[in-house]
Amino acid sequence: MMKGSQQQWPLLIPAPRTPGKEEFPVAIDSSIPVSSTSKPYSDSQIEMSGDFVRNPSSHSIQSKSSSSHSIKGVSFREGHDLNPVTYGSRGASSGSNPVRYGSRGASSGGFTSSYKEIKDEDARLVYVNDPGRTNQKRFKFAGNSIRTSKYSILTFLPRNLFEQFHRIAYIYFLVIAILNQLPQLAVFGREASILPLAMVLFVTAVKDAYEDYRRHRSDRIENNRLASVLLNGEFEDKKWRDICVGEVIKVSGNQTLPCDMVLLSTSDATGVAYVQTTNLDGESNLKTRYAKQETQMKTPVVGNIGGLLIKCEKPNRNIYGFQANMEIDGKRISLGPSNIILRGCELKNTDWVVGVAVYAGKETKAMLNNAGAPSKRSRLEKRMNKEIIILSIFLVILCTVISICHGVWLRRHREELYLMQFYRKYDYSEPEVEKYEYYGWGMEIFFVFLMSIIVFQVMIPISLYISVELVRIGQAYFMIRDDRMFDKSTNSRFQCRALNINEDLGQIKYVFSDKTGTLTENKMEFQCASVGGVDYDNGKDISTEDWQTGYSVQVDGMVLRPKMTVKVDQDLLNLSKMEHTNESKHVCDFLVALAACNTIVPLTVETSDPAIKLIEYQGESPDEQALVYAAASYGFMLVERSSGHIVIDIQGKRQRFNVLGLHEFDSDRKRMSVIIGCPDQTVKIFVKGADTTMFKVIDKSLNLNMVKATESHLHSYSSKGLRTLVIGMRELSTSEFEQWHSSYESASTALMGRANLLRKVANNVENNLRLLGATGIEDKLQQGVPEAIESLRTAGIKVWVLTGDKQETAISIGYSSKLLTSKMTQIVINNNSKDSCRKNLDYALQLYKKLSNVSHSNDEGHGAGTNQLALIIDGTSLVYILETELEEKLFELASKCTAVLCCRVAPLQKAGIVALIKNRTDDMTLAIGDGANDVSMIQKADVGIGISGQEGRQAVMASDFSMGQFRFLVPLLLIHGHWNYQRISYMILYNFYRNVVLVFVLFWYVLFTGFTLTTAITDWSSVLYSVIYTSLPTIVVGILDKDLGRSTLLKYPQLYGAGQRGESYNGKLFWVTILDTLWQSIAAFFIPLVAYWDSTVGGSALGDLWILAVVILVNIHLAMDVIRWYTITHIAIWGSILATFICVMVIDTLPFLPGYWAFFMIAKTKLFWVCLLGIVVAGMVPRFVVKVFVQHCKPNDIHIAREAEKFGNLREPNAETEMNPIFDLPRSTATT
């Protein structure tokens, strides 16, 4: 019975699916051997051209958080066990599984036991349909209500404050404020001293509160959604938040899962359910999940559902791993990741599923994964923090100077102290009566020290942190809104996922790029085929109508049409339509293989025309999709797939094929195969796979010429950059089939080493194949990639391509993307041992030396292209090089090469290559990729960019920025990166300058007050200084100012070098700025001081003059550096000065302050205005002169380009042509 004969297969059609109508598969007679249905689907992946782990479902790289398992899961790639099917860590899908998923769980082969025992203390026990027992006190599982919000009304204040004070800068602020509250140290008024901190805290709190309010709202909506839960034998609606672990829930098609559930049964008789995990990992393709056959059979009787006990692991974040056992009728079966559906997924193509909640609410995997992007710190910020430490030291020095001076002052006046009004150590008339607040030497000095810290606190630019954040938000806004970085085809904007590394984009030196999906579109297009030794390369153009109508079939008055059409080769089409010739039979077999040998699920999509329906092929591999679409275009349309059979519409005739077995792709075999029971009662095995392994199993004796011809075709395909696959087949005789079937059965039910057994079965049957042909699939280069690479290279950025593809394919893509040019000398390192690697590296280094010596005589270093080197290295060699002493050599060599191409690399090797550079240089690295295999490198690099392309969103989720196309890298780096860098670096320098000027002015005054830290400038003014008086202009300039326009930056990519060399913010500039600060503060302080010497001027009046002088000075300083004056810049700068005047006036109209009316009195005098003018000019002249002098005599590139931009005389020295017109293309198409 188990050896199901072919005749039984047709019976295994699941009940027809009628959407909306719920049906339990009760109708199935128990005599039907459901359990023997072999299960062809799986969500593991066929990998065709060997791009490792290109498929999104082999999520061997998980988020950082998913513990060491995931790392293990990746690292074994370092060794040669390159296996893309790694379900998380433990290969948990193994088990004594009566439903065989082909070679599913192949990765579990390494385990000695079929399922791993879960230790009791690590387990949670779920009694199915018995939530009471499940949630006993001992195991209080989380309810299903979720809370993404952080605060409640009550906890908001304390928690928010607590979180805010995690920043060290705020602590500094707080300490200062507290110090100031001590009566002995009260330098500032209480209110004034708290204001800055309060302001910062308040703004942040309001922002947090608003965000939290929105989260509350979405939580509420989420928690109040309804799900149908089994209560007292009936399914009733229940709010999501009330669902508890152990309850049985039914979810209908297109509904979202309320919690993590173990599948018990589905509307499909065989227990298949399809889910879309867009919300979870962003991948839009369908994933298959299975209910265990035991429960699938059981659920029909709802009352019967109890008594099941699931023992599963504790909640964890690994969304691709799950491990559990289920006890059913005393039998123990194991559950894996394919048996669980996760919260947030959507049920698709399945009418309903019934499952039991195992993780709820905050313990669901989706919620546990709800962490933000990894936080990186920008280089500039690190540098800034260093500078802030310098400033702190400076501050301490200033304070020390003051306290020492004060000590000296006290000592010099010690004779008089007892008579002075200020201390009144003794009474004037009677000796030794009263001391007044004189604390003695030590304490006085100490107090003065603390007080001076309070007075000079503004030295540490606290507001800088906030301003930088605001500026980054502004920059992010502009980047997101840039319509040149909008990708029309995927309808995706640029996204800033990390806000704090904007300016790093302006300093990139190395770009590490993935190939597939990043340089190429990853839209596989079937290009050509070699069938039976004949190359059908459709070079001929086909008419446009053909293109549009394509192939279609009539079914029940409906027209079915594949969603995508493929160019067809007329000869091949004609051949496929002919009948009964040997040739056409061969072609038919070939096309059937294309349509059948895959795991594609066809979906019917309604169109606006009710008579026409589109067939969309859903699958995890774009290559397979391309093949199926190609087959459909030739009239072999896959129209239906269910468990056990597929229906292919062959030239209008529906034919049914039974899928008897499926050997999944694994990277040892590098091929997959299906065993098909054909309508003509024959059993055939179709195999497709990489040429290297396929030719080993092809029986060459059958037709040697054909094999030769195919091989040569393959060679020409791959040198054209096509991804190639070889297809073969064999008819199985009955005995062969029986033999295979029994071994397949036993292998897939085996408890131990199932994967190995299955592999052996596959190897046994995949032999002596008849070669059918080969296919060439084009992975088209993305628009604008060659130009982008060219631009990046001109900008001094080294582009390295890291791909899992074959060397030939990689090189050909390298040429077409202009990464490699014919001028370059290629160094290919392709070795199998460490020694040969070393030899090759040494040789290459010598070669480089020779070349550079030759060129040195006639040309400087890396200028002209005669001596350019390209390094091509493959993953196998990297295994011997990375993390050994050879790394150093590789680095030395690679850093000298113009282009580096790494092929056949595993994901972790990609990260290793990034680390190779990152650990050895200070240069900034950027990694760009689109797939799960790029995640590790994206996270490793200083800047990670995800392409939101075809391969799901894992890369995007791990990235700092995401965008639609590789070519957007050019505007992103050359324009936005450049601007961001210039803006932020200027802003940081300016903020330092601005605060230090004020501190110096305060400091100078202290020297004239007996070092007692009186401030002539009112405390309000010194507090408002960085909040109102000077903050807005720097933010506006930081967001808006542009040193150069777009077109100039694109025209001269070399201008990007300014950022790479760190020209706008470096130690020299910092110290020059501090010197300038010193001069300006001297001008601002001493001019009024001397002018008002021996006069009646009061402290408050002079203080007003000082603060106004400083504010005008720093604003004019900014104005002098503004490059583009927008209206808003004018408003901000002049408005700030005006606002300062107004504030000073307002402060001086408060009668309870000593400085009442002081401003109005001093502003009446002409001396005041003369002083102001004098200060501004005297303060600015040195800076102005130096600036002009440098611009004239040592202009940097930006100066020149700016002048060129202004005067329009972009004379080309060597008549360069406009290099990259393509970047303006999207604009023109968009506006039309």
Binding site: A366, E416, F478, R481, D483, K1042, Q1054, T1096, P1154, A1204
Partner: protein, 336 residues
């Protein structure tokens, strides 16, 4: 986990074009061209030098007589402090000086104190501004210690060290034996008289303690009329300062002899402070001070010199603006 983008997939997310979002707002891009640079520098010179000259001449026109008297108006004993503190001693002191140049009215009479830290932090803080304008706030003396309240807890009005140390030397001037009227009205700021110091607040318990700091106040005159106090309470910015004592509303001719009768009451001896009497006229630049004039001359002169230097530089070492051949990658690498 928002699911809102599912339904709206057809809606293009293309950012709407605006000049702002594309950072293409019209902007003015000034460039420091040689003409502009030289123009700016020359303009500065042309503006600054005349102002400097004006300021110098204004300062030159100020006639100022300064007479230090603290050291002469005291018997040359070691007990200077004892002498000044003793209420019984006669502190009258007569000084004479001649007017060097004609002084046009109004002629201001100042006293100048040196080495008196009126900007000492403890001193500056020791006042209660609320008390001065609000009759009900006489008890708000918390900042005034140690001169906040008398020993038995009564509030001192005006409280604080500043008021307590009120300057109390008096000057009476005579010209050729005829008394010269010093107008002590309107010597304080109008804002002080009308707003800061209330007509309803009267001095209370002032200088009643054992410790006399300086001048006393007539308890029958409201604070709004105590102009000496107002002037004193405007604490000076620097340890050397002048304060207005009064105005002489007549012209003083050159070589006139002025006799000043000084009541030398104020104790500056305990901290080596100097006391000076200053009679001065005033111009737009204030008192006699050449600094502004010199500074302006210097800045203006420097600007012109720099302007000339830059002109020469532009002539002899010109650089065409925006010439791409100056871009680093176009330069001859040998220059690097």
């Amino acid at each position: 986990m928002s699911s809102d983008d599912g339904s709206s997939k057809k809606v293009s997310k293309k950012p709407r074009y605006s000049r702002f979002t594309q950072q293409e707002l019209p902007a003015c891009k000034p460039i420091l061209t040689p003409a502009l640079v030289i123009g700016i520098l020359m303009c500065l010179g042309i503006i600054f030098i005349p102002i400097g000259l004006l300021a110098l001449s204004a300062s030159e026109n100020v006639v100022e007589v300064v007479d230090r008297y603290d050291d002469v108006c005291i018997p040359s004993t070691d007990q200077k402090v004892g002498f000044i503190k003793d209420p019984a001693t006669n502190k009258t002191c007569i000084r004479t000086f001649t007017i060097p140049k004609k002084m046009r009215k109004p002629v201001y009479v100042y006293y100048q104190l040196d080495n008196f830290y009126q900007n000492h932090r403890r001193y500056v803080k020791s006042r209660s501004d609320r008390q001065l304008w609000n009759p009900k706030a006489e008890y708000s003396t918390s900042l005034c210690d140690p001169e906040g309240q008398t020993g038995d807890g009564k509030p001192i009005v005006p409280c604080g060290l500043i008021a307590w140390s009120l300057f109390n030397d008096t000057y009476s001037l005579s010209k050729n034996d005829a008394a010269l009227q010093i107008n002590k009205k309107d010597i304080a700021w109008r804002s002080d008289r009308t707003h800061k110091f209330s007509p309803n607040v009267y001095p209370k318990n002032f200088q009643n303690g054992t410790l006399i700091g300086g001048g006393k106040l007539d308890e029958n005159i409201p604070l709004s009329q105590q102009e000496d106090l107002m002037v004193w309470m405007r604490t000076s910015a620097l340890p050397t300062f002048r304060k207005l004592y009064g105005k002489i509303e007549t012209d003083l001719e050159a070589n006139e002899k002025i006799t000043v009768t000084i009541q030398n009451n104020y104790n500056t001896y305990s901290f080596n402070g100097k006391k000076k009497l200053v009679i001065s006229t005033a111009t737009w630049i204030g008192g006699k001070n050449d600094f502004i004039g010199k500074m302006y001359m210097a800045v203006g002169g420097t600007s012109i010199v720099l302007g000339v230097i830059f002109s020469l530089l532009y002539v002899f070492k010109p650089r065409p603006l925006g010439d791409p051949s100056y871009l680093s990658w176009n330069k001859n690498p040998a220059l690097d």
